[in-house]
């Protein structure tokens, strides 16, 4: 296919019709990104457990719904399963001295087997929205967007409250300055376990929502979740800083993190609409994350860099030749 025929075959209505689905999925990943924000930004830990706990959330939710549980109760248990997964990572890190990033990898690795067991040793478990009452499904996208948005708003409110409490403040202090936290009597080990648990609880909740939305749980549904989560966090932060130059409140920040998930998915929808091979999506995601990670750095470089200093120096010397 030549470039000409590719562009000729693109239809704008097709793109617009795909948008709502992208937004719905974006909100669900935005919930996941809230979990990533807790570890990555507040606790200053890159937690790779999430690739596993996202699937755990989906698996638990689908299996419980299949055995007759109401969807909300299934989601609640999924959150508990996620909390537990995060706790394991936290304990590996704080009680056994394993570096946080490795502890997360270990838990994620172990969760693969556990997730398979949860799903009765099958790699894919469908849940038919016609036979079971689901909270949201891709069959009715506008409703799914509404449910997702309401849930995200409620979660942001809860997180805003929690991180304003004494305990939440102690978690933030632990991430901001561990030495200071210890000196102020904070058990930083406990706080890390608490933060990691909370984060993975949110990630599992997101996995449970995604499984319902797509109508199945899959053993590989969480693969690369950390990258998507980071993408959402970083896109959200860059946008937030662009809109609120003079500072922002915590709930605005969290809102933008969810929005980051939506923007990420819209970009993915556009990439797919451009008929790019879906197998290349991971490459594009990595590129997108790299670009957004680089933006704050490059902006700082524009304000102050050695190259700039060198140019200013040359200008200050008024065109005198070097060495004179």
């Amino acid at each position: 296919m030549t470039t000409g025929t590719v562009f000729a075959s693109l239809s704008l209505p097709n793109l617009i019709s795909r948008m709502p689905g992208g937004i719905a999925q974006g909100i669900i990943w935005g919930v996941m990104a809230l979990g990533v924000y807790i570890t990555f930004r507040l606790l200053d830990v890159a937690d790779l457990t999430v690739d596993g706990s996202f699937t755990t959330g989906g698996a638990v939710t689908v299996m419980l719904i299949l055995s007759g549980w109401p969807a909300w109760a299934a989601l609640l248990v999924a959150v508990l399963a996620g909390l537990l997964a995060g706790m394991v990572t936290g304990l590996l890190h704080t009680k056994l001295g394993i570096p946080a990033i490795l502890a997360g990898i270990l838990t994620q690795f172990a969760l693969y087997s556990i997730n398979l067991r949860i799903m009765g040793m099958s790699a894919n478990k469908p849940v038919n929205p016609d036979r079971y009452a689901l909270l949201l499904t891709s069959r009715t996208v506008p409703e799914a967007i509404l449910v997702g948005a309401l849930l995200a708003a409620a979660l942001i409110a809860v997180l805003y409250w929690y991180f304003g409490t004494e305990q939440g403040s102690a978690i933030r202090a632990t991430g901001s300055n561990p030495s200071m936290s210890r000196a102020q009597g904070i058990n930083i080990g406990h706080m890390k376990v608490l933060g990691l648990s909370l984060s993975n609880g949110l990630v599992a909740l997101s996995g449970g929502l995604m499984a319902q939305y797509q109508g199945f749980a899959d053993i590989n549904m969480g693969r690369g979740a950390i990258v998507i989560g980071l993408a959402a966090v970083i896109i959200g932060e860059v946008l937030c800083d662009a809109f609120f130059r003079k500072g922002w409140s915590f709930y605005t920040r969290l809102g933008f993190v969810v929005l980051g998930g939506v923007v990420y998915y819209i970009v993915m929808v556009i990439i797919l609409w451009l008929r790019l091979d879906s197998n290349d999506l991971k490459l594009f995601t990595a590129l997108l994350v790299a670009v957004f990670l680089a933006v704050p750095y490059l902006q700082a470089q524009r304000r102050s860099s050695f190259r700039l200093a060198g140019r200013n120096s040359a200008a200050a010397q008024g065109g005198r030749k070097e060495g004179n």
């Binding site: 409490t165 004494e166 102690a170 936290s181 000196a183 102020q184 904070i186």
Partner: protein, 265 residues
């Protein structure tokens, strides 16, 4: 108030880097003692403070604070009895959090941190009043992130945080060393004032001999992990820089041509 009994600590034992940092230290602080600690690099001053704060477990000996054996308590468990200010102004405060949030964290030192609001309205007013004492105008910037403050401002804030709860013990680990002379003087005066007004028991490490003589009610000199000189009351008041240098040379068995090896003027 503080009792160190035969406290020893060796770093990297059994290796080529083995360092006997504390050798069977005995030290007793009465309530209200304000002790300045001097000594050369590697004398064990900071090590002694870290042993008291519980940064790591000691090898042998006992540490009592106000009669309680804290030897087996971890750093965060001892924190309820101890206020600390560090050499590096970055160490004592959480940069991503507001001034008022940092103070609120300090106000809960040693208390259970539950699901009550992290900063109460009453605290906001109280902290505002306390910040006025510093005379740095921080009371008007209570919601500013601490990371935006200068080193001196952060150190003053850390001092306020350390003394907020009237600790049984205040540990000042060369807390003015990283500041410019004028700011250092201000922070030192502030330390004096807070210790005096709250009647705190304090240990202050300094590299500055003049400061060590002019401040506090008692002075100890350390060398090679031991306390080699201890003066208080009238004896301490009469001390001069020359006395300290002579003392150091006599006890440490070294002749010093200047005080630069030991301390700065």
């Amino acid at each position: 108030m503080l009792q160190l009994t035969q406290v020893s600590k060796t770093f990297n034992p059994g290796t080529i880097n083995e360092k006997k940092a504390l050798r069977e230290i005995d030290l007793h602080l009465k309530p209200g003692d304000f002790v300045t600690v001097i000594g050369g690099n590697g004398a064990g001053k900071s090590t002694m403070l870290n042993a008291v704060a519980g940064v790591w477990p000691v090898d042998s000996g006992a540490i009592h604070i106000d009669g309680m054996d804290v030897t087996g308590l971890q750093e965060h468990q001892r924190a309820q009895y101890i206020g600390r200010v560090f050499q590096d102004p970055m160490t004592g405060t959480a940069p991503n959090m507001q001034i008022v949030e940092n103070l609120a964290l300090a106000a809960r030192r040693g208390k259970k941190r539950g699901l009550r609001w992290g900063v109460t309205k009453a605290e906001r007013e109280e902290f505002g009043e306390r910040l006025k004492i510093l005379g740095l105008g921080l009371e008007d910037r209570m919601t500013a992130r601490v990371g935006l403050l200068s080193g001196g401002q952060r150190q003053a804030l850390t001092l306020l945080m350390a003394s907020l709860q009237r600790p049984k013990l205040l540990l000042l680990d060369e807390h003015t060393a990283a500041l410019d002379p004028a700011t250092a003087q201000k922070v030192l005066e502030l330390s004096d004032r807070i210790i005096r007004e709250s009647g705190l028991t304090a240990l202050m490490i300094t590299h500055n001999m003049k400061d060590a003589i002019e401040h506090g009610s008692r002075l100890i000199m350390m060398n090679e992990g031991q306390i080699i000189f201890d003066a208080e009351g009238e004896e301490k008041k009469k001390l001069t820089k020359k006395d300290l240098m002579d003392k150091f040379a006599e006890i440490a068995g070294m002749q010093l041509d200047s005080d630069e090896i030991l301390l700065t003027k």
